[in-house]
């Protein structure tokens, strides 16, 4: 494993060292806001000590990234495959237009989490949030799964405008008392056993990653949000 000390280095230097490292395993120490770490990589396991900057793992193509602290905005932007594990919270636009792979956040996520996520056949993105999320969760969502686990059992776990423009995918919210208004494009139901079966393996993996009890999470009640239609704007237009 190559150890890279990030102290007093800018992102171009850090990213270059990661990209050109001959080792598959790379450990970054003293990371402090360097952007784009792991951008587009497919063959690395990157462990980060400290707080990386924006766009961590953008266009990620199969690499694994583990962060021992929180991350900033746009983590996993347009990622394709791989896994990003965050032992803390994530900033805004987590998993923007993510098209595959997994982002597991231990604590909370900011605004616009999972915005424009989309799935296609074997490319199927998953975002798991341990705590709660800001507004615009799953905005324009077109595919994949977002799970908000609400590990602290709070009342308000999503903000305003959740699922606005959603036309694909599913959002699971672990709460029995859902305190939110949803837009007309979104259908909200209590998740059935079948529904939960779909996320079981991710919950087990998540619980394993963060050393928590999966059984408690699996036996809880979830609400599931789905789009009403795959063509939400069909009736909006008239030909001129």
């Amino acid at each position: 494993m190559q150890i890279i000390d990030c102290e007093n280095k800018d992102y171009t230097q850090v990213c270059k060292e990661v990209r050109t490292s001959e080792d598959v395993d790379v450990c970054l120490q003293n990371c402090l806001g360097q952007r784009y770490i792991g951008a587009g990589l497919n063959n690395k396991t990157i462990i980060i000590d400290g707080v990386p900057g924006n766009a961590l793992g953008a266009y990620l193509d199969g690499a694994n990234i583990e962060v021992k602290a929180s991350v900033q905005d746009a983590v996993g932007d347009t990622m394709n495959a791989g896994k990003i594990l965050v032992r803390g919270s994530s900033g805004d636009a987590t998993g923007y237009a993510m098209r595959g792979g997994k982002i597991y956040i231990r604590d909370d996520a900011g605004y616009r989490t999972g915005i424009h996520m989309k799935a296609y056949k074997e490319n199927f993105p998953i975002i798991m949030i341990g705590g709660k999320c800001g507004s615009f969760l799953g905005e324009y969502m077109a595919g994949g799964i977002i799970v908000v686990l609400n590990l602290k059992d709070e009342k308000q776990i999503v903000g305003n405008f959740t699922g606005v423009g959603m036309h694909g995918g599913k959002i699971f919210l672990r709460t029995s008392d859902l305190n939110a208004n949803f837009p007309p494009q979104v259908k909200c139901e209590i998740a059935t056993k079948e529904d939960i079966k779909e996320i079981e393996k991710y919950i087990v993996e998540y619980a394993n990653d963060f050393d928590i009890d999966a059984n408690k999470l699996l036996s809880s009640q979830y609400h599931i949000l789905k789009p009403n239609s795959a063509n939400p704007y069909k009736r909006l237009y008239t030909a001129h």
């Binding site: 992102y11 171009t12 990213c15 990209r19 952007r35 784009y36 951008a39 587009g40 497919n42 924006n54 766009a55 953008a58 266009y59 193509d61 905005d73 746009a74 932007d77 347009t78 394709n80 805004d92 636009a93 923007y96 237009a97 098209r99 616009r112 915005i115 424009h116 989309k118 799935a119 296609y120 490319n123 615009f136 905005e139 324009y140 077109a142 595919g143 423009g165 036309h167 694909g168 795959a230 063509n231 939400p232 704007y233 069909k234 009736r235 909006l236 237009y237 008239t238 030909a239 001129h240």
Partner: protein
């Protein structure tokens, strides 16, 4: 029953003595205008469905058909025109947003047509491009003002990545989805033969076209359709679409009906699902945020590809372009308000944005005034109709031009402006297999090659006439232009003198 206030805009004029009832027009018309009446033993037409695309006119073996503008009229009114009245009927009936296609058709001034080009007489002799070398080769990308040398005095190549074009004409972004597989294939083949580039648009890149990568610009828009590591690395350059001239300020929306199996594979979304690109990139709210996307793409492509940022020509375009130039973009593409589209709300298309001529002049001046013109190349599009438009654009400061509507017309488009219906009879703006097969990709690519070669030759002739033998010497050379019938303010913005001065 409510009355449907649809009145036909065109009449199908069928010459009965020529018509042989072969029913070819019926087979060719995807709008179902023509049919055969068994009782009358003759062809009849339902003109309310006609979009005036001329497919039947061209295919009629006996030339029995022509489409004429209906002389059916409302009471004359300079304010309440027929279109104003009929759009109200339409919206009162449907409650829908008016949707139309292709560029702004309204009679706004076309500044290209009010600019004249210079030529040499007596002094500074003109050059004959048939006999003398004439350079149209163009390099796009950030230039560095300082030459660096190593300890031996040799020049160190510190030039950021460049695009090399044989001629300053590229094919502008049109997505696979908005146009057909064969149309994309024709553009890719033509760009390769010509030594220029075509642009994927925001719909991803079909697997069959990766082989044309060296002549491809891959585009990334807010929906990020089909964007993957392979896609980012596939082309010669990466374009971030911030805006489009036909619909500044709004996003894209490919209706589910056009997301057929193959389009779904390329966009990487399920078949039949709407492909929605929101108006903004939701991670970009500032120049700093744009810089983040630019550099994330540079990181992901290992700094080997120039990054283009495409913006629509809007009121503050010069200031915006200055910001874009400082975001790390290598190239700015500016799209004027006459730029085409596969679908845009009519009111936005016809009323939002400004002409490319004024936008280009303003941007070039602003960047020069700020001393950052070298940091970026400028591509302009938004209705480049011929080679003299290109000469004028380059003399106003553009490095290269984007053409799209012209390219579609070269492939057979008849400008019926009905792309949004998805029933293009010419096999271009449709995904219906029975229609897409009407466009022969090889033949269409040859037409594109012919067009660009002809224009390039015309550009050389006009350059030669001015005594200029390299496109570099024409760039930003506004002394070669004069305005005609323009106000002082217009001349000031264009940075040119009036004819006779």
């Amino acid at each position: 029953m409510a009355i449907n206030m649809v009145e036909p805009l065109y009449e199908v004029s069928r010459n009965a003595t020529r018509c042989i009832n072969c029913r070819i027009c019926e087979k060719e018309c995807s709008n179902l205008v023509h049919s055969y009446d068994e009782n009358l033993k003759a062809m009849i037409s339902d003109e309310t469905k006609c979009v005036n695309c001329h497919r039947c006119v061209v295919m009629c073996p006996t030339h029995a058909l022509k489409i004429v503008k209906s002389d059916n009229c409302f009471r004359e009114n300079a304010n309440w025109t027929q279109d104003s009245i009929m759009t109200i009927y339409n919206q009162a009936q449907t409650g829908g947003v008016l949707l139309s296609s292709m560029g702004n058709p309204e009679p706004f001034p076309v500044y290209w047509d009010k600019i004249l080009i210079n030529a040499s007489q007596v002094t500074n002799p003109s050059i004959d491009p048939l006999r003398e070398p004439m350079e149209t080769k163009t390099f796009l990308g950030a230039k560095v003002p300082d030459i660096k040398r190593d300890e031996n005095g040799d020049i160190v190549n510190n030039l950021p990545p460049q695009i090399e074009l044989s001629t300053p004409i590229m094919f502008s972004a049109m997505s696979y989805g908005s146009i057909s597989y064969n149309a994309h294939s024709a553009l890719a083949q033509a760009a390769t033969k010509l030594g220029t580039l075509y642009n994927t648009g925001e719909g991803g890149l079909h697997k069959d076209f990766y082989k044309y990568g060296a002549n491809t610009i891959v585009q990334i828009a807010s929906g990020r359709f089909g964007v993957s590591k392979n896609f980012i690395e596939a082309g010669a350059a990466i374009e971030i679409k911030m805006g489009q001239g036909a619909k500044p300020g709004i996003g894209g929306h490919l209706p589910g009906t056009k997301v057929v199996e193959d389009v779904s594979k390329t966009r990487m979304i399920p078949e039949g699902s709407d492909a929605i690109s929101p108006a903004p990139h939701h991670d970009i709210y500032s120049i700093e945020d744009l810089r983040q996307l630019v550099y994330s793409l540079k990181e992901a492509s290992n700094y080997k590809k120039p990054v283009i940022v495409k913006i629509a020509a809007v009121h503050n375009v010069a200031v915006i372009a200055s910001g874009v130039a400082r975001s790390g973009a290598d190239i700015i593409a500016i799209d004027g308000f006459r730029g085409g589209t596969g679908a845009a709300p009519t009111r936005i298309r016809d009323n939002v944005g400004i002409p490319i001529e004024l936008a280009l002049a303003a941007v070039d001046k602003r960047l020069r005034d700020e001393g950052i013109r070298d940091k970026v190349s400028i591509i302009v599009g938004g209705s480049i109709r011929n080679s003299s438009d290109i000469i004028k654009a380059i003399a106003l400061g553009a490095d290269a031009c984007y053409i799209a509507t012209s390219a579609l017309i070269a492939m057979g488009c008849h400008m019926c402006r009905s792309c949004h219906l998805g029933r293009c009879n010419w096999g271009i703006a449709t995904q219906r297999p029975d229609l897409t097969k009407r466009l022969d990709a090889d033949e269409a690519s040859q037409k594109l090659v012919n067009l660009v070669e002809a224009w390039t030759h015309e550009i050389k002739e006009m350059m030669g006439g001015m005594g200029i033998n390299s496109i570099e010497a024409l760039r930003g050379n506004r002394l070669m232009l004069r305005g005609i019938g323009l106000t002082e303010k217009e001349l000031e913005i264009l940075g040119i003198m009036h004819a006779g001065e």
